[in-house]
Symmetry: C2
Subunit: 704 residues, 2 copies
């Protein structure tokens, strides 16, 4: 049997292809792939299978898969759902390596369809044959002319090879992306649409794609993922190999999420967790399809900026200001030109604004040498990561456009390591001429700034590729005997894992509660301790602000009495005595088991931040301390930890250590733990650590 | 003399035009306007002025403005800065009604330029002649073929008349907008670019534009505004007359704001205040130029939706989910189809998702009658404000496009009051054919959702046009004798204006502090009261948590002693006794004097909300209670006032009354008050009002 990557190579770079249900009609599902294969001049063997014909589209047809002269690498099944199972069986029998199932009418439809899909999947799995689909639009590999798709978008032309790949659950979305990217003149080596994902899924396709040396960017689309480990591995490999992933993840809205659940079998997982995982691994989550293509186009050369600084050249103050606004939003640094260079520009043109945006005024419109001097100065002396020139509709005139391009190339020669970008509104052929020379061209300045911001994002992500790896030493594995753990049981386990708790003591029945409390140090809080009482306050099992021994005795008696009265059946371990701590900044941390991503660490500030603002963030476990630092800085209220109104900065290092430790523990115990709550945790001032004041572990039900 | 609106009509709808500096060269500043006037067939008299020629571009030329056969309504001055003052003088002498000054080299350049501009402005003002510019690109009124502009964008074609107007400080931005809108096939009656605004400014041009009956939308651009009253009046008139204003306000970033201040003479004002004023008056602030044009195009028919509900039709689940996500972000309600209608659709096509998004699956691609049935059902039974159909690149085929349009029109006939929108990627002429039938067409679904959201925004704003009017009865006017006011002086003034304060008392030297404090009710806070001591805590002049008479006596003695020691020169009124109040939700309110908008009321939640999250919002004063309610609901932490974790809802009505009262007071005293601080204010639970615990009024320096 082939390993997984090899089997995808059989699917995407086959030597031979069978088309089951081949048709002479090039507008039909069984006709289109053959037409495309022929038009593209696919070099491998192509075997139409159709029992009713001698030839199909001029090629010798075969009556069955069994009758083929060789076992093809790939079989494209262009037959109705009802006939698919039989076709899959024949292919499996013939040792076909992979089959593409176009037909709908499977798990996405009804229970009968789901049964059909399961049967087909079972047959394939048994033989080791890989399946793509069903209910998918297939694949292409334009670099070898292989088209295993019936996308009608190819009627108007095949696809130019190039460093972009597309991976999409939705066939319609994937082929629309391809269509739009083709309109933009972009080259794309690969498209994979995965449909119902009975076998091959988006994660695996992505994993294969990011390993292809000739791919620099992947545009992806998904509603959810099925295979967390392969997915995260794909993201890790992409980051290491400097492949940009630009992702359209849908289902973030309530209606959208509802539609996802009715549309796919995939467990969607929480959209907020997706968002966090994307940030964790440096994936760019596109907000719009237009943005997805803009960014893919800009990253397709695999060249990234040396810094996030941007020099803006304009001939109109207003445009410059607008771009500066958008640049700031995109995280770019519109740093001023060096003072001396500014003086030189002022000397050249007294009306100019030489700072940045550099405004050469309308004077430069008619004085190209002046413009070239200005731009050269910016590139030679500004030390910018990016140059962005605002040219409006000027380049729409072919004569001016050519001269301008010449001038820009001359100026660009001064600085080979500044990425050159332009805004212009001009016919496609003029835009292409600039793009061919390596310029990033956009019509809209705001879109351009977003694109440049994404390039900085990728650069930063690639640079920290070594961090955040999952080969972290996992924490100790813990088994549970079943049922929820009391606070007193949970704390030692989490302390072992790396969480700090305050000194505590247990008052057992008959103990002198005053003496035990005194050993902790007043003021204290007393809490009933029982594995059977999860909600301690509901039975009056918590008394705070206990100030001396007498009060402790009274409080303990009260709690024991309440527990005996309200929960006579509960196993009472005693009463936990903890110090009252109100120093530091209150945070909450925890672990949840996400349907898509498994154990995920959550972090947020306590109080109104979590209750009113839902200001929390997530990371897939495990992750390292550096990643924890990034996580902490994502919340809106982060300034609280830096110290507000003269408060001392908090011990963010200790917090990051704790979150990372918690993530390792969660990863090591993904099979036995459903969730962990540390709420509240108080982060002390820098150097003084933190203390978790409460802890809860809920074991995975039925799995412990 | 003409009133202001008439004088702008002379500028924008003249009967006669002189062009000073007229040139035969149609590529020169002095040649272009004449060329455009001739090409457009302007019906009024056109007088080229050029002492060196008999004729210019075939028209009789005159040696000077004085030599013209009549006084023209408008003079276009296409002469260099140095010659402009003389030209303005001649025009003023001849009773020309308005002059357009193209030339740069005035206030935007240096002090000499500023002096030149002032001289020219003085001459015009004395004679009653209006001036546009200098440093501007002029105007056009395509409906009468009047082109008083040298924009090179018109070289490639004039502008089709239509219900869109453009008002822009930046000539380059304004003419680029015109260029892009023309590419989109949009008709535009007017363009006004105001440049340095030595006389006519954006506010006045906007004011004129929104009064034109044939204008439905104005696209505006500004870096700042100079005339608050006219500006707000323009926004009010626009709202009353249902004119959509789509505004590009630049300078929101630090670099951008810096560039604005060096680029224009205008006082920019706070960008956050601009943002709030736009919300207050229902202006849509465009984030990108593309968005500005999309929204203007959609609103150009002046038709708005009956509700914010949206029915999404798709043939691909993925696209539907993506659009549902974007719809939610845009504030649209993707409400489900009625249950019965869903059942009928399921009966028609078992594989369909009939809820909303309504997914007719790929089946509908080839079965147009099925698609029509689905869409008809949505329009007849869904009661949607909007219908959005996702068609991808299907309509790129002219034959399919025509059939689809027919099908959509048939379906649309079922519901005349649903606004029809489509996404498609197709050649311009196909898109135009849909637009001509009243469809809103976009390539990108995300952009379309933003556009529809903006239409809902305008609808809501127009519906509340009666509210928020500035004809509110102003509060009492107050004069100050100068200097800052003590808390004790400020409170009665603000109480008179409508702010509630707790019962307080003053301990004077020699009083029994215990008895005075007891009259307020313990616990109390004691604060030194002196107009000379602004920062009371700095001298130890505040003691909180005073619980009984003895403590009050001790505290009062301490405070008197500290004041005597640390500020022996201060006038001491006594010690203010206030009740300690910690109930309710802490908010802050105040008034600031914005450089652009004058008195502006600020509101936010106290504590971390203002300190860490800067969660505050603004309104230009005055405003009514309904507007105050909207203001309150804008802050991110609004849930705090609704009651979190079981807390009772706060008295938001009382808060809204107070903010509106504060705004009236601020407006009535704009000339004497620099700022007001109410911090903290505690809003009690519903029905129990609020109390302001501290107050500060800073009179306007040098104006009181």
């Amino acid at each position: 049997m082939l390993n997984r990557s090899q089997s995808l190579s059989a699917l995407l770079a086959p030597n031979s292809v069978a088309l089951v249900g081949a048709s002479d009609d090039v507008t039909r599902i069984g006709g289109r792939p053959l037409r495309y294969l022929r038009e593209a001049g696919f070099k491998g063997a192509v075997y139409p299978v159709n029992p009713k014909r001698e030839t199909v589209q001029g090629l010798t047809a075969y009556a069955s898969v069994g009758a083929l002269p060789e076992a093809p690498d790939v079989a494209i099944l262009a037959v109705p759902a009802a006939a698919t199972v039989q076709a899959v069986r024949e292919c499996a029998g013939r040792n076909v390596k992979a089959a593409i199932v176009f037909s709908a009418g499977f798990a996405e439809t009804d229970e009968a369809g789901r049964a059909l899909q399961n049967e087909m999947t079972g047959i394939a799995r048994e033989s080791g044959m890989r399946l793509l689909g069903p209910n998918c639009l297939g694949v292409f590999n334009s670099s070898i002319g292989f088209y295993g798709t019936f996308s009608a978008m190819l009627d108007t032309g095949l696809v130019k090879p190039g460093p972009i790949g597309i991976v999409s659950q939705s066939g319609a979305y994937g082929s629309h992306l391809m269509y739009l990217a083709r309109l933009r003149g972009l080259g794309m080596n690969h498209l994979v649409t995965t449909g119902n994902e009975c076998d091959i899924n988006v994660a695996e396709a992505l994993r294969w794609m990011v390993e292809q040396p000739d791919i620099n960017v992947v545009m992806a689309y998904a509603e959810g993922i099925k295979d967390r480990d392969t997915f995260i591995e794909a993201l890790e490999v992409a980051r290491e190999r400097r492949k940009a992933i630009v992702f359209m993840k849908v289902g973030r809205s309530e209606v959208g999420a509802h539609a996802v659940s009715s549309h796919t079998a995939a467990l969607a997982g929480s959209d907020a967790v997706f968002d966090s995982v994307f940030r964790q691994y440096g994936v760019w989550r596109a907000q719009t399809t237009a943005e997805q293509i803009d960014i893919a186009a800009a990253c397709s050369r695999g060249v990234y900026p040396k810094s996030n600084s941007l020099g803006i050249f304009t001939m109109s103050g207003g445009f410059g200001i607008q771009m500066a606004d958008d640049a700031e939003t995109a995280g770019l640094d519109v740093k001023p030109m060096p003072e001396k260079a500014q003086e030189e520009l002022k000397a050249m043109l007294p009306y100019a604004s030489p700072r940045n945006p550099v405004d050469a005024t309308a004077q430069a419109v008619t004085d190209l040498p002046l413009m070239t001097s200005f731009i050269s100065a910016m590139l030679e002396k500004g030390d910018y990561g990016f140059f962005a020139g605002i040219f409006g509709s000027g380049p729409a005139s072919p004569t001016f456009s050519g001269k301008l391009r010449q001038a820009l190339e001359t100026a660009a020669a001064a600085s080979r390591d500044t990425i050159m970008a332009l805004t212009m509104t001009a016919p496609d052929e003029i835009v292409r001429a600039y793009e061919d020379k390596g310029f990033i061209v956009a019509q809209d300045g705001s879109a351009l700034m977003k694109t440049l911001g994404a390039m900085v994002h990728f650069r930063n992500s690639f640079e920290r590729a070594a961090g955040g790896k999952r080969e972290l030493a996992p924490g100790e594995h813990v088994e549970f005997s079943g049922g929820a753990l009391s606070e007193r049981e949970a704390k030692p386990i989490l302390a072992q894992a790396g969480v700090t708790f305050p000194k505590e003591a247990l008052i057992k029945a008959g103990d002198d509660a005053g003496a035990v409390a005194a050993s902790v140090g007043f003021p204290v809080v007393l809490k009933i301790s029982s594995p059977d009482i999860a909600h301690k306050t509901e039975i009056g099992g918590v008394i705070v602000g206990v100030k001396d021994e007498a009060a402790a005795r009274e409080a303990a008696a009260t709690i024991f009495a309440r527990a005996a009265e309200k929960r006579p059946d509960a196993r009472i371990e005693g009463i936990l005595v903890s110090p009252m701590i109100s120093d530091g900044v209150e945070i909450i941390a925890g672990v949840v088991s996400d349907p898509a991503f498994g154990p995920v660490v959550m972090f947020g500030l306590g109080g109104v931040f979590v209750e009113v603002l839902k200001d929390v963030t997530f990371r897939a476990a495990p992750f390292d301390v550096a990643e924890a630092h990034r996580m902490i800085r994502e919340i809106r209220g982060f300034a609280m930890l830096e110290g507000v109104r003269g408060a001392a900065p908090s011990d963010v290092d200790a917090l990051a250590e704790m979150l990372s430790a918690l993530s390792r523990f969660a990863a090591a115990n993904a099979d036995t733990i459903e969730s962990i709550d540390l709420n509240p945790v108080r982060v002390m001032e820098k150097g003084k650590g933190l203390v978790a004041l409460d802890a809860l572990i809920v074991p995975a039900s039925g799995r412990s």
